[in-house]
Symmetry: C2
């Protein structure tokens, strides 16, 4: 049975979520439209909203209500569990630690921009040591409250329901797969004709219209969404007012278009969350790995499929004109499925991307566990990259300084990228099995059948299930990396 | 001396103001960029922020701190007074009355849109009666707390430091002035050559660039501002991130351009508020009449002056091309200083605009005082307009249904428009007297000398002084409508 305490908690958590919505809109504004002079005040606004949200979550009456609350039915029971979890995590950390971390992260992130530009690890080392020390304390405090290991407690901040013990063997198996697959994929690629590059320039206005049209075509309702521009593309906003961004270069349309399809996948997840639990913990997305599975199932699984490329090629040719050859579906496939060993994660292809994540997962786990010191990070990075991809970065800017995450205090996030990619393959396989016309529809540019399946099995589930349980309910098994390697084998290892 | 209680209050009021900043940005977003589907969630976000702000303002410890607080120096004393005033007004109204009013205003405003479209006063009458009844109760509650009369207590919500007793004789004198001036101005206008209309179309992109360039030229720093589009132009945002909007029609540039100059006046006020008291009550603008004085001093006093038109004409011609005759400064003066008796306030010229405000001031005062019933409003309106301008609206859509204000519960606001116009003339006269090169600069498109004077005498004063005291400090006298009628006489009654 539900009771008054649970009802009070629902009102309180809705209020907290509404503050979060306001923050999400202000974050979008800061990235997409804010004049530079607004930054200082914006920081104050976001800090005030975050502070009020924290006060609402940690007020003394919350503990009393949580002790007295009862909920009935799978959804409300899960909701109450998630309330307990949020309260536990918020109260586990001493205010002094939260504030010290926020200051250290902010200071480190500023220095990182200079250190990266100068490829000078020594410049960031002291600030990063402080960040890591405070992250270790945070991990230990969260571990004490949750019963997880320290690193798992951090990972749990981004994706509930999956542990390092789940991830480790999956990543080890991928490393073995890659050692065999990468040279074979390179050989197959080398034997094929070189892809023909579409000839630009590609006017921004045309790219913008195309991105908006295609994201609408694959399911984004623009009465509840916007597409804008920002330096780093993202999906923000709220479920009924979702804001995606991209970045246009007139030299090429590949990055903006595929980026928009990626962000549209995130946006469709937000749009499909269960409205009956809007603004409740159980009505949110299931986590960052689950979120990445939805961006990648659109970008990598659906929109780079042979079926969809056969629809997309003629549309691109009609949009940009010029010769037809670059827009032939087979040429687009060669262009957008190139494999190459590179230093930079965000530029990596589908096959080698996990290597970058495996490297980071192992190093951040060792940093949090105390087995690796910050001083030894550059050497450990270069050694690990050499072992995984056989290449060595020429400097730390292309090595351990390339990502913002650690320098902004985000430890435990990286696995989400590859867990998402693997889950996307697993979900796509299940969706295909359950939906016979799925690829025929994709060949018409119609993601409707796929989206219908995702609405039921992923989006509409909200945060009711953790990562492994969500996959179990949707596909009949927990994370199974074989679906991902099967997908990669079909795409990259078939001559 | 300052003390701990006052310091605590400053922290609290800064937090309240920061929530207000967040709301201001969300209001801008809703008007300028939000997709329609975001409206419902936006309402929740704004209500939550308003509710939290109200809780912070009315928390029990505020009364204790206000009782114990001491402040030293004119600025902090005024700040503490304004804190007391805000708390007094917030606690004077029972929560039930505030909520009933919010609901009644929202319901009436929705019906008003239909009633106006149908020119059907009967449709809105019951909802408006509810709004008026609740506004009377509100006025009485505020009067009881503040010692003002009920109508003054409402007017005080929008502009502190001026009463109906101040306004009444000023408006009566203007009525007498207008009865003589209007037919004379019409006769002079009829004797002049008809203005030549610039030939369009005027591409939106050109208008936008021109509006941005001119608003920057008259002082708006776009590292702290944006210019966007919305159905109803406004100035919003925050002092370091001010957002102005306009509405473009390719058929003409007059409305968008003069509208942007008007909103730029508002924006410059916000930009010039005293940063040492940012987010404190004394660091805000002095009120709506003061704000309107700053938009009108830019739009009406500076930018429609002969000097500025001599700069603007060639610039407009260079922008839009075509024949030179429409852009001759004398022709622009004839175009932008046309006098005509019309039914619609927002379309009214500088000379007849006050008649529309005088009418509303008298009627809303009678509605709040109980001397006029809602049922008698249409008749009273038509009678008053006929007495003031000699014309009778063909229907209520062009009569008492034209403005949103009353139907949204805003009583006591209307006088601000004309108090602002009068104050603008008075301030301009004082600025000219103190600044010999002011008009020579305007002839170069340079509002710098005017802005310097306004920064010192108006913007930089924040909310330290009420309306009459602000004018006294800046011009040596309280509101003196003779400066406005002198300005009008020079502009409209000199053949």
């Amino acid at each position: 049975m539900s009771n008054a305490a649970y009802d009070r908690l629902k009102v309180r958590f809705a209020r907290i979520a509404t503050l979060g919505e306001a923050s999400a809109m202000l974050h979008w504004d800061a990235a997409a439209v804010m004049p530079p002079g607004g930054g200082e005040a914006r920081g104050e606004q976001l800090a005030t909203l975050a502070g009020l949200g924290h006060e609402l979550l940690t007020a003394p009456e919350v503990a009393e209500d949580l002790a007295a609350a009862a909920a009935e039915g799978a959804w409300d029971e899960a909701n109450l569990d998630l309330m307990r979890r949020a309260h536990l995590r918020a109260t586990a950390l001493p205010t002094a630690l939260v504030e010290a971390s926020a200051r250290a992260n902010s200071a480190c992130e500023k220095i990182w921009r200079e250190a990266k530009a100068a490829a000078d690890f020594a410049r960031i080392r002291p600030a990063l040591e402080t960040v890591v020390r405070l992250q270790r304390e945070t991990a230990q405090a969260l571990a004490g409250a949750t019963g997880l290991t320290p690193y798992d407690a951090l990972m749990d901040s981004y994706q509930r329901g999956v542990t390092a013990a789940d991830v480790e063997p999956v990543f080890a198996a991928y490393e073995a797969f890659l050692a065999d697959a990468l040279p074979r994929a390179e050989a197959i690629q080398a034997a094929r004709p070189a892809p023909i590059l579409p000839e630009g320039p590609f006017p921004t206005a045309q790219q913008r219209a195309l991105c908006q049209e295609l994201s609408a075509a694959i399911g984004l309702d623009y009465t509840h969404a916007r597409l804008d521009e920002s330096l780093h593309p993202f999906c923000g906003g709220t479920p009924t007012d979702v804001r995606i961004t991209t970045f246009y270069s007139e030299a090429g349309f590949e990055k903006s278009l595929l980026g928009v399809l990626h962000e549209t996948g995130h946006a469709l997840y937000e749009r499909g969350l269960p409205t009956a639990y809007a603004r409740q913990p159980v009505g949110e997305a299931a986590g960052m790995a689950a979120h990445e599975s939805q961006s990648l199932i659109m970008e990598m699984q659906a929109c780079r499929s042979d079926a969809f490329l056969s629809f997309l090629g003629p549309k691109l040719h009609a949009t940009f004109g010029g010769g037809a050859a670059p827009y032939a579906p087979a040429n687009l496939a060669r262009l957008w499925r190139r494999v190459s060993r590179g230093f930079i994660r965000v530029d990596a292809d589908e096959l080698t991307y996990p290597a970058h994540v495996i490297l980071r997962f192992r190093l951040e786990r060792a940093l949090i566990g105390g087995e690796l010191s910050v001083a030894d990070l550059p050497g450990a990075w270069n050694e690990a990259l050499h072992r995984l991809l056989g290449i060595t970065p020429p400097d730390d800017a292309q090595g351990c300084l390339q990502d913002i995450h650690w320098h902004d205090g985000a430890f435990g996030y990286f696995p989400s990228y590859t867990l998402g990619a693997m889950a996307a393959a697993q979900l796509m396989r299940a969706a295909r099995a359950a939906t016979p016309g799925l690829d025929a529809a994709l060949a018409q540019g119609d993601t409707g059948p796929l989206l219908t399946w995702l609405r039921t099995h992923v989006h509409g589930q909200g945060a009711r299930l953790g990562f492994q349980d969500l996959l179990r309910a949707a596909t009949g098994k927990p994370l199974d990396p074989a679906d991902f390697t099967t997908h990669l084998t079909e795409r990259y290892l078939t001559a």
